[in-house]
């Protein structure tokens, strides 16, 4: 985790220290639908190095625990991902397909049932979507994706207790992204 944080900082520094950054190569975006996911803060940075390719790195962070009248639910996570997108026409406009590697540390529970799962996931994901240009600097993106990988988990009986139901290492496949995001193109 620390390594990833370090990478991210490096990436940002690389971005910021890039001299003579040509226009329209960088974009930052945030997924509005992600905020609907119990307020997950998210951001992604993208860099286009060719006409049809961008690389991106993103982070999601959800520290919130919701306690209301004896009930508690949360979908806490922090995930770090890095990937690349292929734009058939041109970066930052039109259709795209992306692949990424993602590491997620999560604690989810109490939403549907009291069972809570906590652990780490690591995997690769595939997303596809469409970007519509709203403004020379602004895009709106729509996308949908899923990822699969391995998870190390512990499952508890309730959000705030220690009764363990199961634990171990398993494979998983889950929907990952439902993107309705705004990106700003520099």
């Amino acid at each position: 985790m620390r390594i990833l944080k370090y990478c991210l900082v490096l990436a940002c520094m690389a971005v910021m220290s890039a001299t003579g950054a040509e226009a329209r190569r960088f974009a930052v975006s945030t997924n509005l639908a992600g905020y609907a996911n119990l307020g997950t803060l998210n951001a992604e940075l993208a860099y286009s190095f060719a006409r049809r390719w961008t690389v991106n790195a993103g982070v999601k962070y959800n520290p919130w625990t919701f306690r209301a009248s004896g009930r508690q639910f949360q979908n806490r996570q922090q995930s770090y991902s890095a990937g690349a997108r292929f734009w058939p026409w041109h970066v930052y406009s039109g259709w795209w397909i992306a692949g990424k590697l993602q590491y997620q540390e999560y604690n989810t529970g109490g939403i549907i049932s009291r069972r809570t799962e906590e652990g780490d996931r690591a995997g690769a994901g595939l997303t596809a979507g469409y970007t519509y240009m709203l403004h020379p600097n602004l895009n709106i993106e729509f996308g949908i994706g899923l990822w699969a990988g391995v998870k190390w988990y512990v499952e508890y009986a309730c959000p705030a207790c220690g009764l363990t139901l199961s634990s171990g290492r398993k494979g998983f496949i889950l929907p990952n992204d439902l993107l309705i995001s705004i990106s700003y193109v520099f």
């Binding site: 040509e22 226009a23 329209r24 190569r25 006409r51 041109h90 970066v91 406009s93």
Partner: protein
């Protein structure tokens, strides 16, 4: 096919179902349409009974007549049930497309000709026929097309078609057009629709910042090939953001316009080149269309055949082909067949000896006889002369005998010198042209000279308009008689001398060439030959070719029969009339033409007159009249008059058929004689008729009661038939009639009496009182005479009217009060006046004027009009008043309230102290040509209050004198 399946469905379970189906099919043909043959037969049965051949007398005609022309009422084989029912019909292979097309020789419409005989007028023939479409053929879902075809002596052509469209058919057509319009509207014309401009713009703005940064810069920018940071050109961007599918779809639509039109609009609405296109909404009756077509005529056009083809369309496709089995035949008659073909010759005079001359103005320098051939004027003149000589020499029909060259000089200078100079000049000119002539001719080339051409100078001066008369006279007065030179000096001192020298003298220096030639092929000096008048013959040819304008221009000057025919055909009726009036002895054809002209000018009576003359001369003209529409209606109206002539002819003809050899003789006689009266050939005599009215004068005659302004004479034969008649605007005339016992009737001052073919007709004619006027009284008389040779007779005539007059009115009232009161005569008039009288014979009048004094209209013959003449007691009113009235033969008089014929009365209307009173003098029986004079009316008492009231003896006294008008009688009566 659908129906068959339905049927087989019913057949599914055995015979019972079969029977049910069969019965059902028989019982429900219309709604189920089961069994196409059954419905077919049922339909045919219904219609076959309706095919009736029509006769055209069922049609009402206003003019012309209809001939039998094969009118057949047709059947139709329409499928009433509408689509889906298979209809079994005959089919033929259509030659043009190779399809099998349903066809039926269904004479589906009634075509009636209104005129079988048509006349060609002005180079065109007007054909009229009716096309009647029976109601069975008219269906709201169908369109009918009728195409008349015309065959004029082998020249075939199609006339304009008729379309009769049902309402639903037309609605379907319009729907098709609407759908096509909608299709056209869907073709995108704005190319910016094809590009996703919003995305393209943002892309360009994002990735080509330079361009937009330079937007406000005026320097040249915007290379569409410019690349962005990734090497994407703007053109590529444009390509990417274009909706190619939409573009393709649009292009496809544009290309398929034609096919889509054909798909949507199966049967386009034709608006040009057709005669009629009607949309019938719910028509239950037949439709009848009168087709009128003007056809250009050509020489030799005798017959035009019209046939009718038709087609029935449903749903845009042709359903049936119709063909009318009969065709109409029109026979064309033309006035050009009346043309007189006899060749016309004109006399041409040819002389053996010919003389020709020409002048040339050749410039010689002063005092010289040399011809300067370099001077421009000389060159052209000499070449002209040379050409002239060449022309004359080259003509084969002439031979040059001799030529003389005459040169003249102007007066200036010494006479002797001038004469030598002129001679030298003539010689030099002759030498110049000598080479043009053959050697044999050289001895006969002479010269002559006129030294000083004073005569010509005088002529030129006299005709010169620029000289003032004063100077002219002065010049003319200079006489060159004695000494030319001194005359010359006298002339030189005149003020106009400069003008003379500059303008007149050059024209005197001319050279004249005179040629004498003769025709070598003539022996006599002059020959008169008759040549065919080619202009006339080409005019006749033009009539035959129906080129009437050309014929008129060629023939007008000849003013003969053919010329009249040409004018008539070209529409110049007045000119034709003039020409015909100038022809003295008119042939039958000329009289016929005159009848045509009169008919065209709407003078029917005259037309009948000329026509009857024509028929008298040539009975076959009667048949010609049938062909000309101007005359045929007139003939039909006056059929009874015509039958008299035709009856004679037919009676004679009948006799020839009945009797034997005599019949043959008569027949021969008839066909040889130009007249139809075949009994004996009648000798023509000339009769001169006068009416001796001038000897019938009376002192008391006023105006011109014996004036003869017009006389009309009828000559009748013993049997009462008309022999001849004539009219003249004088008091005597000459009439051509035939010899024999004749009765001559003369009518004077009457309006033209026409259509008199026998004496009984004349006896029926009446003369109205209004035909008379002061100075023109109608008179009539008759005389029997036996004519053997030309003679002259006088026919005594008597006036038809009588004259009633009053000469004096005296008031002599017994009572004092009336004597002093005001007595004013307001009017004097006749009442109970007979309105008309027969020319011959005495019969009662048919109408009356001012009966019972009640309807005094303004008739100057029977009333004085408004008067206001005061009569003072003791002083008589002496002005005589005269009235004319028709004879009143009624013996019995009556004063009844209700009108009945009664005696004529003379009424004096007066106002006595403001009160109107009447003094009525009843006349006796009034006879024509008598005078009824009241010499004095003595009024003693106030009169009656009603003009029809009998006056009491004490009111007034008067006496009436009756005397014959003719006898010279002067006298006065004492009461």
């Amino acid at each position: 096919m659908d129906k068959k399946r339905y049927v087989s469905g019913n057949f599914a379970s055995g015979i019972s179902a079969c029977m049910v189906a069969a019965v059902a099919s028989l019982l429900l043909p219309a709604s189920c349409g089961v069994g196409s043959k059954v419905s077919d037969i049922l339909d045919r049965d219904v219609h076959v009974g309706m095919s009736i051949p029509w006769e055209e007398d069922r049609l009402a005609a206003d003019d012309g007549w209809e001939d039998g022309c094969g009118v057949v009422r047709d059947t139709t084989d329409k499928d009433r049930d509408g689509g889906g029912d298979p209809l079994i019909m005959n089919a033929v292979r259509e030659t043009s497309t190779g399809d099998m097309v349903a066809t039926d020789v269904i004479s589906a419409s009634r075509v009636v000709a209104r005129f079988r005989n048509v006349a060609e007028r002005g180079g065109a023939v007007s054909l009229e026929f009716d096309i009647t479409v029976p109601p069975d053929m008219i269906d709201s879902r169908w369109k009918l097309k009728f195409l008349p075809k015309m065959d004029a002596m082998g020249r075939k052509s199609s006339l304009e078609p008729l379309y009769i469209t049902g309402e639903r058919y037309r609605a379907a057509q319009l729907r098709g057009y609407e759908r096509y319009q909608a299709f056209l509207a869907s073709i995108i014309t704005d190319s910016s629709v094809f590009v996703r401009t919003d995305q393209l713009e943002k892309f360009l703005m994002r990735y080509y910042p330079g361009i937009y940064a330079m937007k406000t810069d005026s320097s040249f920018v915007s290379d569409p090939e410019a690349e962005n940071l990734f090497g994407v050109s703007q053109r590529e961007a444009l390509e990417h953001y274009t909706r190619h599918a939409l573009v393709q779809r649009n292009e496809n639509r544009k290309k398929s316009r034609e096919t889509m039109f054909r798909k949507y609009v199966k049967d386009p609405i034709v608006s040009e080149g057709l005669r009629l296109d009607t949309v019938l909404a719910g028509a239950d009756g037949a439709l009848c269309y009168r087709y009128v077509q003007n056809v250009r005529s050509f020489p030799g056009l005798r017959k035009i055949t019209v046939s009718l083809d038709g087609e029935v369309y449903a749903d845009g496709k042709r359903l049936l082909a119709l063909h009318h089995p009969d065709s109409l035949v029109f026979y064309v008659s033309s006035l050009s067949s009346l043309v007189d073909d006899t060749p016309k010759y004109q006399t041409v005079v040819r002389y053996r000896r010919i003389y020709d001359n020409t002048s040339a103005f050749i410039d010689f320098s002063q005092g010289s006889a040399e011809i300067d051939t370099l001077l421009e004027g000389n060159v052209s003149e000499l070449s002209r002369i040379r050409k002239c000589i060449e022309d004359i020499s080259s003509k084969a029909e002439y031979v040059l005998d001799s030529m003389t060259v005459t040169a003249s000089c102007s007066p200036e200078g010494d006479y002797g010198f001038n004469s030598r100079l002129a001679g030298a000049r003539a010689l030099s000119v002759l030498d110049f042209v000598r080479s043009e002539f053959p050697d044999s001719l050289h001895p006969r080339l002479r010269t002559a000279s006129v030294p000083e051409n004073w005569d010509r100078m005088k002529l030129l001066v006299r005709n010169d308009s620029t000289l003032s008369p004063v100077i002219r006279d002065k010049i003319m007065s200079v006489s060159p008689a004695c000494d030319k030179d001194s005359a010359e000096t006298a002339l030189s001192s005149l003020p106009g001398y400069i003008y003379l020298r500059e303008k007149i003298y050059p024209r005197l220096r001319s050279v004249k060439f005179e040629f004498w030639l003769h025709r070598p092929d003539m022996a006599k000096d002059t020959v008169h030959t008759a040549e065919l008048d080619t202009a006339y013959m080409s005019g006749v040819e033009a009539i035959r070719n129906l080129d009437y304008r050309k014929a008129v221009s060629l023939l007008r000057q000849y003013s003969d029969y053919n010329s009249a025919l040409a004018c008539l055909s070209a529409g110049y009726e007045e000119t034709a009339l003039e020409i015909l009036a100038g022809i003295r002895q008119k042939s039958a054809k000329a009289n016929y033409l005159a009848a045509l002209v009169m008919a065209r000018l709407d003078m029917k009576a005259e037309a009948m007159e000329y026509y009857s003359r024509s028929v008298i001369q040539d009975p076959s003209m009667r048949f010609r009249a049938n062909l000309d529409p101007e005359l045929s209606p007139l003939l039909r109206k006056s059929n009874d008059e015509e039958t008299y002539i035709t009856d004679k002819l037919s009676v004679t003809m009948k006799k020839t058929f009945i009797t034997g050899a005599a019949a043959v003789f008569f027949l021969a006689a008839c066909t040889q004689e130009p007249r139809p009266m075949c009994q004996e050939s009648l000798e023509k005599v000339e009769l001169s008729v006068t009416v001796p009215v001038s000897s019938m004068t009376k002192v008391t005659d006023i105006g011109n009661e014996n004036a003869v302004n017009r006389v009309q004479v009828f000559v009748f034969r013993e049997d009462g038939s008309i022999d001849a008649w004539s009219i003249a605007e004088s008091d005597s005339l000459v009439i051509d009639c035939t010899a024999g016992d004749r009765e001559v009737v003369a009518v004077v001052n009457a309006p033209r009496i026409v259509n008199i073919f026998n004496i009984d007709a004349l006896k029926e004619e009446v003369s109205d009182l209004q035909d008379n006027s002061v100075g023109s009284l109608v008179m009539s008389g008759s005389k029997k005479v036996t004519l053997s040779a030309s003679a002259s007779i006088t026919v005594p005539v008597r006036r038809l009217v009588a004259r009633v007059s009053i000469e004096r009115i005296v008031t002599d009232f017994a009572l004092e009060q009336y004597r002093n009161s005001e007595f004013i005569i307001k009017g004097i008039y006749l009442t109970n006046v007979a309105g008309d009288v027969h020319y011959i014979g005495d019969e009662a009048p048919s109408y009356w004027h001012n009966s019972q004094g009640k309807d005094l209209l303004e008739q100057e013959l029977i009333e004085t009009g408004e008067m206001s003449e005061p009569v003072v007691s003791g002083i008589p009113y002496d002005t005589p008043h005269y009235f004319y009235c028709c004879p009143n033969p009624y013996l019995a008089d009556s004063y009844a309230e209700e009108w009945s014929p009664r005696h004529t009365r003379l009424v004096v209307e007066a106002s006595l102290s403001g009160r109107i009173c009447y003094y009525t003098m009843t006349m006796p029986v009034i006879e024509s040509n008598h005078l009824y004079t009241v010499t004095e009316l003595r009024i003693t008492r106030p009169g009656s209050s009603d003009p029809e009231q009998e006056m009491l003896p004490g009111d007034a006294s008067f006496t009436i004198e009756v005397e014959d008008w003719e006898e010279g009688y002067t006298g006065q009566f004492e009461i």
